[in-house]
């Protein structure tokens, strides 16, 4: 089944113009938007090194979740539980650390371990039980949120100052978490591009039945994708715990990381049906959202108007790819 036309609208004839790949184009658009707004509002400081770093810093929290979400969408699944998982990991990490620097490593391990368990549960529900991924991950998300809100009274804690360097420390003028995000993106890219597992991810997303007939253990690939999504959410949770010095049950939901991560993945050119797309598109999508945010702030747009515009922009940005789709989309 062909759900969508290939992205560069298969014009393979002689009039072949060189085209920018989607991530590059999206990055360019984002940066032009950012620079244009900075000049238009006369805020030249936004174009300084610190200004650009500030822009990139806006990418971090959404970046980790979105990288993870890329995997689930590539295999044709989806993960709606990531926002609640972000809150859970942040709360758990700050509770376990309880201000004690010696507990940083165990707490990080435990929090990420819990995240992986949630990913395992999601993966099993989707791949083994055959439950629609939207419902399965919505259900686990609700369960996480409910348990978290009910037990938060007993789970208050805060992270030690040493852990806050993750959010506030800097290496060579760059915030620590920024190279970390880049490293994770590279790892994800390498995994998808150069390993057999990566090839299987695309195969399962492109045509699950065909992949199964070709001997790929599709269930395991889907399971892996959900583990990756949960790990990404876990990293965001840790970062937010460091930035806010303690986790609350609402940070994930307030950031709307579930829907935002899906939106940036799709804006980055990854097909919602799976099988096509990649890491750099997602990173470009995250940059696009970060620049939008920065532009709205520079232009002094009201917070609520920002939301109205954002909704329209998400639809318009996705429509750029989808409008040439033949056939019907649900």
């Amino acid at each position: 089944m062909t759900l969508a036309a290939p992205l560069p609208a298969g014009r393979t004839g002689r009039a072949r113009r060189p085209r920018l790949p989607v991530p590059a184009l999206l990055t360019l658009v984002s940066l032009l938007l950012y620079a244009g707004t900075a000049l238009w509002t006369g805020q030249a400081s936004a174009l300084s090194f610190e200004g650009i770093v500030g822009l990139l810093q806006r990418m971090i929290a959404l970046g980790f979740v979105a990288l993870g979400q890329t995997f689930t969408i590539l295999v044709g699944s989806i993960d709606l539980s990531v926002a609640n998982l972000v809150s859970l990991v942040a709360v758990l990490a700050s509770y376990l650390m309880a201000g004690d620097p010696a507990m940083i490593a165990p707490a990080v391990m435990a929090a990420l371990g819990v995240a992986l368990l949630v990913g395992l549960l999601n993966g099993l529900l989707v791949a083994r039980a055959g439950i629609n991924p939207l419902i399965a991950t919505l259900g686990t998300g609700l369960m996480l949120q409910g348990v978290l809100s009910a037990s938060y009274e007993h789970l208050r804690g805060s992270v030690p100052p040493a852990f806050q360097t993750l959010a506030y420390g800097s290496v060579a003028g760059l915030p620590v978490a920024l190279p970390a995000l880049l490293a994770v993106a590279f790892a994800a890219y390498a995994l998808l591009r150069f390993t057999r597992l990566g090839a299987h991810v695309y195969a399962v997303g492109g045509n699950a039945a065909g992949a199964r007939m070709a001997g790929i253990a599709t269930e395991r690939v889907t399971l892996f994708a959900h583990l990756a999504a949960s790990l990404g959410a876990g990293l965001t949770g840790l970062y937010l715990a460091a930035r806010l010095s303690s986790g609350t049950p609402w940070i994930g939901r307030d950031g709307a990381y579930d829907l935002e991560s899906i939106a940036v993945v799709v804006i980055g050119g990854t097909l919602l049906a799976g099988g096509r797309g990649g890491v750099w598109g997602t990173m470009a999508g995250v940059l696009f959202f970060a620049s939008l945010d920065a532009c709205f702030t520079m232009a002094g747009v009201d917070a609520f108007l920002k939301q109205v515009l954002r909704g329209a922009i998400v639809v318009a940005a996705v429509a750029v790819y989808t409008i040439r789709t033949k056939g019907h989309v649900a």
């Binding site: 399965a136 108007l305 939301q307 409008i323 019907h328 649900a330």
Partner: protein, 338 residues
Amino acid sequence: MTDTVSPTTATTADKAPIARRNRLKRLAGFNVALFVFALLYGAIVLIQPNFAEPAAFMNLLRRAAPLAILACGQLFVVVSGGFDLSAGALVTFTVVAASLVIGGDPALTWPVIAGLYAFGLCVGLLNGLAVTVLKVPSIIATLGMMLSVGGLAMLWSGGAPRGELSETFRLFGRFVIRDVPLLGTLPLAALVLLALALLAAWLLHGTMYGARLFAVGDNPRAAELAGVPVRATRIAAFVVSALSAVSAGILLGGFAGVSVNAGDGLELQAIAACVIGGARLLGGRGTVLGAVFGALTLFALFTLLNILGLPQALREAVQGLILILAVAVTAVRERRAR
């Protein structure tokens, strides 16, 4: 890109048993929600015998009416193969906008209600056009609409509930007809629910439009080849969902009052209600009766948890669990049926 030719091997001879099996399946799907609801309500009555009185049941019906109406509308989109995530935001918008414009002036009630339905119509049309013409997947398209409509509600109200609803407006959610034979009391909201559910059931199960919607949800390409106007059918489904959200908002504003998060999460609860009621996500199957009982099941569940003294927060957890179980049951049944 090649046009996929849909399998056309089904002869008229084996269509009849398929139709019969579909009907059986549909009945079975509806039975699950009814059965679970009866079970839950039985448990409630066991713990709190006063729930056996009709008045208590009517009260449950009144509080569940907005969600049930929302679920009926959402069902149209679900049957068509999509989702409408903007429904909850539209409920919020309805409540907030009504109180701002009416400002306690009863003369404005009817014009405002008409205006709200017109706004709902536009929202539904825009959703439908984004999905059918721009080909944006409905999750993304209605997510964008959710952000925009929710933002509009906040922008207009300034983020805090302002204005006031007129008594006439609140009548729909509040008014209870007393001294009704057999039932004792009869909330107006229950009557509205009954009327709208009957309307939805007729539209989905009794008209050519409904048949087309099922066909589109099952296999849009095949439906198109069979001459179904796929785009118009889909757009209409989004319009039905949006209008149901406005109706739900009017009822909710009536008895819960004005709040800027009146509709938070309702879209997911409505989808959950459809699924519990036996609807298949990604289209092709579902019943209005199932969706209504799915919504009632959710409310009975909330009531039971309340009576058991579980913290409010755990409601969500249990809702999630029920959701997964309901779909797991459907998935297992489908596998067996094959």
